[in-house]
């Protein structure tokens, strides 16, 4: 019975590359990893958006309409629906002048109860200190 904590730190802009999309899909894969593990063992992801990465978190991404692909927005909502811990860096949001009402904060319309959290960088640093492994996307 053990838990491995994994930090998925997203610093990349969305869409130019697949980096932030893959970060989300791999973090979400923690929900099905048990088939490979012993009973009670688990992988617990925490997803943090820092730097330019906070631009992944804007609402109303119209990629389905224009490019016929799922948006990063949908992946963030799915991860909240699955109760993943999702943190946005406050200092970076402030730097870009982005307010909470422009952000994907919950997955209420999908029936989710977990909310994304806007936290100072120091909180994200603490998460990085506490996880077993770190990955920057």
């Amino acid at each position: 019975m053990a838990t491995t904590k994994m930090g998925f730190i997203i610093k990349s802009l969305p869409y130019k590359t697949e980096a932030s999309r893959l970060a989300m899909t791999h973090a979400i894969a923690s929900q099905t990893v048990e088939i490979y593990l012993e009973d009670g063992d688990m992988v617990e992801p925490v997803v943090c958006f820092i730097g330019d990465g906070v631009l992944n978190c804007l609402k109303n991404q119209a990629t389905a309409k224009h490019y016929d692909i799922t948006s990063i927005e949908m992946h963030i909502r799915n991860s909240l629906l699955l109760d993943l811990k999702v943190l946005y860096c406050k200092e970076d949001l402030d730097r870009f002048g982005i307010k909470e009402d422009a952000l994907i904060m919950d997955a209420e319309e999908l029936g989710g109860e977990t909310k994304a959290q806007i936290v100072p960088y120091s909180e994200i640093q603490k998460e990085m200190d506490s996880v077993n492994h770190l990955q920057f996307f």
Binding site: T4, M6, T17, A19, L22, H26, A29, Y36, Q135, F137
Partner: protein, 120 residues
Amino acid sequence: MGKLTMGVFPGLVGSLSLDFSVKLAEAAVKKGHTVDYWVSSNATMLSKKGQRSFKDYSTLYKTLEELFKTGNFKACACEACAEARGFHKEDLMEGWIRKSMDWYLASSFDADRVLMIGGE
């Protein structure tokens, strides 16, 4: 001796970051460590059989062939990433397996070290 799980991600084929990941795996296995090697996105191309040598391209598949022989190297390609690119089961180079992303997370579970190489 330890276990290193590597994830190799976006846009890497044609960049020396992909070479880095293979050479690091090689160096780790040579020292007696075991390596789990996961490719996703464009890097799934590395799992395609029938790659040819050109002087402008690294022939990484030869290093992979040697690594598979050691028994201390496992390589897995993201199945959906590969299918989206038109690589099917029959396109897979010998030694490779294909799985969903949870294979990578499961490998990370008991890894001593995890290195995710993004490449952008």
